[in-house]
Subunit: 597 residues, 2 copies
């Protein structure tokens, strides 16, 4: 069973040497600037300890035991509740929460670094607190003062947890179809009636109360997506002072049997005239929920990357130990065979995982830095700019890093061969767990449509052009010492702009062109952004080597991995470009009846 | 839960309209020519019924219940034994076996067509009889007359089953390391001692006896792969007349908990001085076992393709029913949303599955046709030519169609979204079951090495050149009416030869170049071969349309799918070509210590 080991060296490289978090934190106002390098270091070390010692050992237990449902109650796997208590007591949940409601006010990006560790160590467990964080932010942004005072302190303290209730049996990607009803009551509350499915952490035994954020329709609401409002529905009623009252009429009707994340309860939630409170304006539920959704999407990108790291670690450990066949250049002549890491094809798999794990880490931390600025930037322009960058990068990070996670997890099995197919190896759990990340919080197809349709084409490249310009500027600055990376990166970015324009032109005549290109455009974009991350990493590594660092192995490995990425993974972008260029006709020409025979 | 529906129309297209099985069968000698079109049709219909009505309903049961091990005995899931009895009683096991031992003497390729159905309907179950077939052929080819008489009649009759025992805990890909010992006894038998793992169908309750084919070392054997011999070790001793005697000292020490194929028992087998019989000459065990291995590899290619078909069917059914969002061109204006098959990105996924399923079917049937000729061709030249073609195509079919199966299965989940992640949908079982196919009988990496190293480079293109010439000849013949497919196919084949030569040249200076290119070369080859399959299909469809067929929808769909394949999947080959061209340096430069940090 793989034991997660936090990649502290690489985390520090990303935040200190590439993204310069110390300087970035110093520019953030208020408490965030308390995030001194020493404090950050201490927090990261302590977070690593928690992930490795508390969460990682529970990962296989959670998978094997799963959650149990009986008479509406859900028990989480053995050890989950205790780990949750340690997590809350250790102050991990409130780390990056605003001080007004009991948080510690540290920067959100620090929470991202910790979250990566939690997700690598135990995805199913980590979903419980992560969902609370989304609920907290949604209430903080869209709730009334009274709602905040009533609900936030206990949520931030971890005594209560949160959920997001969107999906119904007949609608997932298309929330415009949803039917759950909200009837206004004389006291200003609403009676919520309907049934939601696939509600992660919808019922469990970790907290005293659960605060559901529920999309529903008001009686006079317009049809479709514009007639949806957001409601807060607590499991137990909450008095004005925050004390718990009676049980509300929301209940868990069942939990699902799923491919993976067995330790997280995926619930059917029935709302039988449950009391709820409107969050934000009527019929603006989708707008309010997008606070939660966007944050969750970045969280899912971290899950994808976290699994990539975990799969890499498991495969690497095995590849160094397992002796099998002589490599052309034998590295253990004293043993009956060489460790399989000596074989080129095993290296191809390991380097693919490594390039995706470390490149993805940088992308996630870059996004996290933008979140810091979007939420806490000192001036409106900084906040707006960061918001726009996030709008562009969120679907790319979510879509690309989850697809990458699936690939890396499958390579994890493959390196172990038959042993990877056996449950005890832990490698097949990673494949089962990571598989959901390309589905929930918007499938990869939905991310592609969001990126291409809403973020690139609808904005007429207002989001893409400045980012592309920034990459070009990086290329200009690094030209001399990084030619091998800068040249292909520059080509890649220019092709990105060109492809975007071509799709836009084609879509004017045929709206199917957007959907036909979306998924390939998403992956093309992901490979491009990761090329930028790898060029930046190679640049920082070169700077350290030039400065005479002693840590030569680490920096050389960075550059070798960058080289591998540019030579062996980036060319895939051209296959996506070709698919995009082929247009919609080859997808749409076939009549529905012609698919079957 | 998906109900398998045999794609009879497409099977008939492949065997009758593209590969001309009727003419092919007429040319085979002896009993094979009894395979008249009417008989073949009746057998296929009856096989479809068995797969759909008997096996498919047991697929989810097998996954859920799994096998149980107690005190050395294994119980298969409920219904498995009954289905096995029906299978044997129906004459399915003996269908393509030689008449000498009780078989029906029909062509092996007809067995392949039936096997596809079994594998699509229930992979875990289908492994039991499939392994028997491999054992039968191995004994028939390498056994003595006495061994054949003693073991084959009951194996062919399905009263006994077979296994292949290769892997040990410390060696899988590298059988040269194996330690199981064989000591000669005075009576000409051997005492076999050692432990084997990952033995599929190694113990079960379907048959009266199990015949293990076991690799082991003689006392005086040379080290490595050249010191391995093959032994037959029955679970129960067998008297000369075929009657069962006492229990032999081979026992099942445990069964594995695995990601998938829960219905098949994956056993640890302990040989405690068990009595065995040498099959073939001493120290030629690997050569003898390769009869079994090559046949199994083609069987695994059929598993990959079978899962691709099953995943396609599940996704297609859902996509036609599930209403979600308006498509740019609405196809159900009367309903609240369009079925998701109207959306371009869903079509991209379905067409990917369809292109891989139908293209893979043609490749498998083409290989099966070569098996017919290799085993039963009238003259030595025909047999030799077919052997050579199989030597080239076996690793391609095994490697490419299993990787394709993994992709198609994952797309099956993706089309269903969250519903695909739920076990009841049956789609996630396909992902778990198909995952083993890229591992057992030689991982994809091993297939790549076999293809590039042994089949292409070591033969100095003796196997590849004639195949490439045949594709070029097809291109010449089809030039006028198939220009859109012929041109890219011709380019592809020429690039294939060029890449092969480049790798060969590079490998002379650096042997790591073979391993560095192997996996990408395998996939490049697979995309090329499938392009040929699709061009042939489009050609046959055009011929039917030109001849005024009424089945216009079917043939148009063939051509649209070919178009999709050439525009959207074949470009991936260029990413593999780029990776190959990048050479070994980017894999080998990193020191072993530099992978970790």
């Amino acid at each position: 069973m793989p034991q997660y080991k936090t990649p502290l060296r690489d985390i520090r490289f990303a935040i200190n040497e590439v993204l310069d978090f110390p300087d970035h934190y110093a520019r953030l106002p208020n408490n965030s600037s308390d995030a001194s390098p020493d404090l950050v270091d201490a927090i990261i070390n302590e977070g690593a300890r928690f992930a490795e010692e508390v969460l990682s050992p529970l990962n296989a237990v959670g998978d094997r035991e799963g959650c149990r449902w009986q008479d509406g109650a859900v028990s989480t796997p053995p050890g989950f509740a205790d780990a949750y208590r340690q997590f809350v007591d250790g102050g991990w949940l409130s780390l990056a929460q605003e001080t007004s409601w009991g948080g510690q006010g540290l920067p959100p990006s620090l929470g991202t670094v910790i979250n990566e560790m939690l997700q690598s160590a135990n995805h199913a467990w980590a979903m419980y607190p992560t969902l609370s964080l989304g609920a907290i932010d949604t209430i903080a942004e869209h709730g009334t003062d009274e709602q905040k005072q009533r609900f936030l302190p206990n949520l931030v303290a971890g005594r209560w947890s949160g959920t997001m209730c969107l999906t119904e049996a007949h609608c997932g990607s298309d929330l415009g179809l949803l039917r759950t009803k909200a009837e206004p009551q004389a006291d200003g509350s609403y009676r919520i009636s309907g049934s939601k499915i696939f509600i992660s952490a919808g019922e469990h035994d970790l907290t005293e109360n659960i605060v559901h954020l529920v999309l529903a329709r008001l009686p006079d609401a317009p049809e479709g997506i514009k007639g949806i409002s957001l409601f807060l529905v607590p499991k137990f009623h909450v008095q004005a002072d925050g004390h718990l009252g009676e049980r509300n009429t929301v209940s868990c009707g069942a939990i699902e049997h799923k491919m993976g994340i067995h330790g997280n309860a995926t619930c059917v939630l029935n709302f039988d005239g449950a009391t709820g409170y409107l969050i934000g304006p009527p019929n603006k539920g989708m707008h309010c929920m997008f606070t939660f959704i966007n944050e969750s999407r970045l969280g899912v990108a971290q899950q994808g990357q976290g699994h990539t790291e975990a799969a890499f670690q498991g495969a690497l450990n095995y590849a160094r130990e397992r002796l099998q066949m002589r490599a052309p250049k034998r590295i253990r002549p004293d043993r009956p065979a060489d460790p399989i890491i000596a074989h080129p094809d095993v290296r191809r798999m390991l380097l693919t995982q490594k390039a995706l794990a470390e490149g993805g880490r940088l992308l996630n931390y870059y996004c996290a830095q933008q979140v810091d600025m979007a939420h806490r930037g000192t001036d409106a322009a900084t906040r707006e700019q960061a918001q726009q960058r996030l709008a562009l990068l969120t679907p790319i990070a979510k879509g690309f890093l989850t697809e990458a996670g699936i690939e890396a997890a499958n390579l994890g099995i493959q390196v172990l061969g038959g042993h990877g197919y056996i449950s005890e190896s832990g490698m097949e759990q990673i494949v089962r767990d990571v598989r959901i990340t390309a589905i929930y919080e918007g499938t990869s197809g939905i991310q592609g449509l969001d990126l291409l349709g809403r973020k690139v084409l609808a904005s007429e490249s207002e989001l893409l052009a400045p980012f592309a310009a920034e990459i070009e500027a990086f290329c200009d600055a690094g030209q001399s010492r990084l030619d091998e990376f800068v040249q292909p990166l520059r080509h890649q970015v220019r092709q990105w702009l060109m492809l975007s324009k071509q799709i836009g032109d084609a879509a004017r005549d045929n709206p199917d062109e957007v959907g036909a290109a979306a998924f390939d455009y998403l992956l093309y974009s992901g490979y491009t952004v990761l090329a930028w991350c790898w060029a930046r990493s190679a640049d920082a590594a070169q700077a350290a080597l030039d400065a005479g660092s002693n840590d030569i192995d680490f920096y050389q490995a960075k550059q070798q991995t960058a080289r591998f990425y540019f030579h062996r993974l980036l060319p895939r972008a051209q296959a996506h470009a070709a698919a995009i260029a082929s247009g919609a006709e080859n997808l749409m020409a076939m009549a529905e009846e012609q698919f079957a025979y």
